[in-house]
Symmetry: C2
Subunit: 254 residues, 2 copies
């Protein structure tokens, strides 16, 4: 990887870009993943590259939902692996659940590379290499799933996922937590809890919340969930982008 | 290239993405160019994927500036070549001026490939393969320029260009026309005329304006320029993004 000085004003964004470029080189990520990274960079820039108040509330609700679930599951795709493989392993460990590799452009080689990467980072249980069932309503390669993983889960975390898969999982009666920087995306609109934040900031924060909330009584977790309103979260994210745009424009015009 | 049905709601965006992916395959564009394309997609999505009123005014002012120039020049980089090579050749022909290849990550091989592509599309005069001078204030490889082209120009069109190069050209006393989808970028803020629009829509429209305005008396062109206010254009673009975000969010929430 290219060395980036920590003092660089856009350090985090450049590190993320390097990670995805490295992911393409190593075969975790497709070239489409680079374009997706660029779109994410733009939304994060518009949010001010920070976890906003509405995102922090969504992260907390997501942690509560994962802790209340009977069988939570986590989906990992190419960009997720390139950007936050270690962080996803830490989250899976905090919840004591497996990670399941699931790709938009599935190839057995890419699935194996990502599963190997997750194991290298310390994951004990990685699913997705031997799918034994399908999510109804998706094209064959996209539908592949594993019993004991996403297929049987009641709550699924889907970072950087597309709208079709989000809707197919919801149609199975699951509750879905999305991490998606676009508050207008179909995924963000449909998910039970939408975390509109950069995955690099959101996943460690989610793990931290899981750790903090795991000692609380279930009634506290239920209260957090009951008080959470996803539509309000998305409205908050849209307003935060609008305010930030205005603020940045005024600042630049001095 | 992958066949995309014209009926697809995001046809233009998918075609652009295919063109850049093809540019990477053929060696015109770097992998950084894919990330830049993703950022552009995001801004265009936020603008509603249309030429806004403020962009149309900027295109008209840009055409007037090119026609009033004594020695206008046009800069072409990897993403510009991948996205609008034919359209740039048409613009150069309408103005009867050369195209000059200038890359952020210069390699002689990429310069030659892009120059060959432009000639294949009908360009009669392509500069950039044998630079004989430098733009002051830039790193060596980025500074390379050609006498009779950008170096001696009084007005330069720089589509998809970064802030450093924009500022270095302005510091030489040139007037600069930018095409940049980010109204907050340093390039957009510093340029004489900033066209905040997708290059795929903006370049053909700019060529059309050049053709229409070329018959007008110089006093008409000067009037267009005098009445143009770049700061107002950028404020308009920011407001258009803010309004569109709000509108899309409300629509999705029905």
């Amino acid at each position: 990887m290219t060395e980036i000085p920590k003092s660089h004003p856009r350090y985090a964004s450049l590190v993320a870009r390097e990670r995805v470029a490295e992911g393409v080189k190593k075969g975790y990520t497709s070239t489409q993943g680079l374009i997706a990274q660029g779109r994410g960079e733009c939304f994060d820039y518009l949010l001010g590259e920070r976890t906003t108040a509405s995102a922090a509330a969504a992260i907390r609700a997501g942690a509560a939902l994962l802790l209340l679930a009977e069988r939570p599951a986590i989906s990992v795709n190419g960009n997720v692996a390139a950007l936050v493989s270690e962080e996803m392993v830490a989250l899976a460990r905090a919840l004591n659940i497996p990670l399941e590799v699931n790709l938009f452009h599935r190839s057995e080689d890419r699935v194996k590379k990502i599963a190997d990467l997750l194991r290298e980072k310390g994951a004990e249980d990685v699913l997705g290499e031997r799918p034994d069932t399908s999510v109804p309503g998706l094209d064959h390669a996209r539908a592949l799933a594993t019993r004991g993983g996403i297929y049987d889960a009641d709550v699924v975390l889907i970072p950087l996922e597309d709208g079709d898969r989000c809707e197919a999982l919801l149609a199975m009666g699951k509750r879905v937590i999305a991490i998606d920087l676009n508050p207008l995306s179909r995924t963000a609109k449909k998910a039970t809890v939408s975390i509109v934040d950069n995955i690099l900031r959101a996943v460690p924060q989610l793990t931290e919340e899981v750790r903090q909330l795991s000692n609380k009584p279930l009634s506290d977790l239920e209260k957090i969930l009951n008080e959470y309103d996803n539509q309000e979260t998305l409205a908050g994210a849209v307003q935060e982008i609008r305010d930030h745009l205005d603020e940045q424009f005024r600042k630049g015009s001095d």
